[in-house]
Amino acid sequence: MEVVPVSVGVASRAWDEQHLDLAAASRQIDRAGSDGFTAAVSGTAARFSGAWTRFAGDLGTDCESRADGLRAAITEYVATDDLSFHELLALGAYLTETR
């Protein structure tokens, strides 16, 4: 069984932070919008803003998935280890000759 160190949990939190930062970035790009440009530019500016709002949002979603993946690894490890612990306890009864 592979050991999952605490640093995996630390990394999962950091990915969560990245998710929040990119969600904020996505909103910033959305806010940038197309106000102020001339009519000849504003359409392209709006398309750009819309596309990049989505790109940044998707990148943030990727970060969230990465955090979820690491948490899943931790959960699996903890569950496996818990099972091992109980099996270990059960096996303990057979370690000594009873009669």
């Binding site: 790009i29 940038a32 990727d62």
Partner: protein, 585 residues
């Protein structure tokens, strides 16, 4: 009968509906977002790697995150490039808008001239024909020149619009982003690798910065705003750009979360960020009295988490990099980063006065919350000897102030600025320590409402500059200004709690200028401690004259003196205050 040919009226100048300031805002948002995305690339290359995790799961994880980092790096570079193009577009459209105004004026003149000529022709005789035709020919040449200018202008608008639209179009899909920027080295990386180490002099920092290409500089602004935003030696405009990226990012990050999700520290930092935002907006909302244009605001210092959350913020009214006269205003009691809007108002007020009294010179006034000032206000919290009267915060602040001034000096090209340090209240103690202990590199020192310039400074000549350039103002009714040592009586004798000698006393050797207020007095004497920067006061007028180097115009006041018998005497208390005009707005 001779016919005089009159030129046709010139074409109408097309409308140009554009808002360069809004476009600049768009560029700032894109740049701040680019910085966020860049952070992800940096994270994947460093913090996301889990060194002590091994096995199949770890291998799978590390293989998977690589492409995410590469995508983030490419997206950051693409967004940064678009942001730069948007900035350039804002500048160009502002220029073209001004050009349109000129064309409209020129067309109006031509139409008027044509109408005048027609009227003259209508009333003319045959004898006038030759002269009128010559006039008409001259007018026709002007119309032709106008038409050429108009064509050039229309072409320029079209070309600029096309260039901007193409810049957006080039990166509308992630495939385009990957093709253009995938695997491309960030210009910021090479630049940051050669950055001078911590502790380098402002001159060394400035040499490094000047040695970078503009592309590298702009890349560092976005990729690592924290590395240069508060670094002495970096030019003000680039510090401002970096701090704007950092500030906008913080506002977006913390501001987008529900307050319950923020830690206590983050809530304080967000308050500080919002105060910085409000400060820069306050300055930019005011108009230069000479030009009518919005006052340039530069975020020179931004560190919302400094001093255990009190924060560090400095924002200027005016361009610190080019102004003829630069004033650094150091506040005192009760100041932390959340006070920034209040001090922005003061900085803008001083700027307005400086430009009103002498519009031939350019100015920048920087409010500097760059040290850990005493938090408590005696009129609200009572006298707190531990916070207000001790000098240690002023000593530390003086060293920081000297670094700031050295940075301002080193970062400017061309003629050095005429630089004035202005200390108000405990800020004057900070200025005093900066000058006495650190050799503050300023041309003039001004203190108002001063409780003393530090226990080690007994005379203006000990401040490292010509004492003829040390100036002090005190409202005779200001209780804080009355705290300084007088004559033989020193507060130091009360357990070492004094802040030094009264700088408006005759023994100190500073020029005392008039600083009374027409509204002096009243039930709360502490209000007189806060009037020195109000418009139409003696104090602001005299501070402004010193800041502008107009020394002969400073209105001097008689010093406080301390006779053997009785307490100190302030002749200013008997004088009728005046209200000199400092602003026509």
């Amino acid at each position: 009968m001779t016919t005089v040919t009159v030129p046709a009226e010139p074409r109408t100048v097309p409308a140009l509906v554009v808002d360069p300031e809004a476009i600049r805002g768009c560029g700032a948002d894109l740049r701040a977002a680019s910085a966020q995305i860049d952070d992800l690339g940096t994270f994947v290359a460093g913090g996301a790697r889990i060194g002590d995790w091994t096995g199949l799961g770890a291998t799978s994880y590390h293989d998977a995150i690589g492409p995410t980092g590469r995508r983030a790096d490419a997206m950051s570079l693409a967004l940064r490039a678009v942001a730069r193009r948007v900035d350039a577009h804002a500048d160009e459209m502002a220029r073209l808008r001004t050009g349109r105004d000129d064309l409209v004026d020129a067309r109006t003149d031509l139409i008027r001239a044509i109408a005048t000529l027609r009227a003259e022709i209508a009333a003319a005789t045959e004898a006038d024909a030759v002269r009128l035709q010559l006039e008409s020919d001259g007018l026709a040449r002007r119309v032709t020149a106008f038409e050429q200018d108009l064509t050039t202008w229309v072409d320029a608008v079209g070309a600029e619009e096309t260039a901007m639209a193409e810049a957006f179009d080039r990166v509308l899909t992630l495939e385009q982003v990957e093709r253009a920027y995938g695997g491309v080295a960030d210009p910021a990386d090479g630049a940051l690798a050669t950055k001078p180490p911590a502790g380098a002099t402002p001159e060394a920092v400035n040499d490094w910065w000047d040695g970078l290409t503009r592309e590298q500089q702009l890349a560092v602004v976005v990729a690592a705003p924290g590395a240069i935003g508060n670094l002495p030696g970096i030019p003000a405009r680039d510090r401002h750009a970096a701090n704007t990226v950092a500030l906008d990012r913080d506002l977006a990050d913390w501001g987008s979360l529900h307050p319950d999700l923020l830690t206590d520290d983050e809530r304080r930092w967000l308050d500080n960020a919002r105060a910085a935002d409000e400060a820069r907006r306050e300055i930019a909302s005011r108009a230069d009295p000479a030009t009518g244009e919005p006052i340039t605001a530069q975020v020179y210092l931004y560190d919302p988490a400094a001093f255990d959350g009190d924060g560090r913020i400095a924002v200027s009214a005016g361009d610190l990099g080019t102004a003829d006269n630069v004033a650094v205003v150091v506040p005192g009691l009760g100041t932390d980063a959340t006070s920034a809007p209040y001090h922005a108002d003061r900085a803008a007020t001083l700027y307005e006065a400086a430009r009103t009294l002498d519009h031939h010179q350019t100015n920048a006034t920087l409010f500097w919350i760059g040290y850990d000032a005493p938090d408590n206000l005696p009129w609200e919290d009572g006298w707190d000897a531990a916070g207000v009267v001790r000098e240690d915060l002023a000593e530390a602040g003086g060293a920081r102030l000297a670094d700031t001034v050295d940075g301002l000096r080193a970062s400017r090209d061309g003629e050095p600025a005429h630089l004035t340090a202005i200390g108000h209240s405990y800020g004057s103690t900070t200025v005093g320590h900066g000058a006495h202990d650190e050799g503050l590199a300023v041309d003039d020192i001004v203190v108002v409402g001063s409780p003393g310039l530090g226990g080690d400074t007994e005379h203006a000549s000990e401040l490292g500059i010509d004492p003829g350039h040390v100036w002090a103002g005190a409202n005779s009714n200001d209780p804080v200004a009355d705290l300084g040592n007088h004559g033989a009586f020193h507060l130091e004798v009360l357990g070492g709690l004094g802040l030094g000698d009264d700088p408006v006393e005759d023994d100190f050797g500073a020029h005392r200028f008039q600083a009374e207020s027409t509204s002096r007095g009243g039930p709360n004497p502490f209000l007189d401690h806060s009037k020195y920067f109000d418009h139409d006061t003696e104090s602001l007028a005299n501070i402004t004259r010193i800041v502008n180097g107009d020394y002969d115009a400073v209105r001097h006041a008689d010093h406080v003196y301390d006779p053997w018998l009785g307490g100190p005497e302030d002749p200013e208390a008997q004088r009728r205050p005046t209200a000199p005009n400092t602003f026509d707005g």
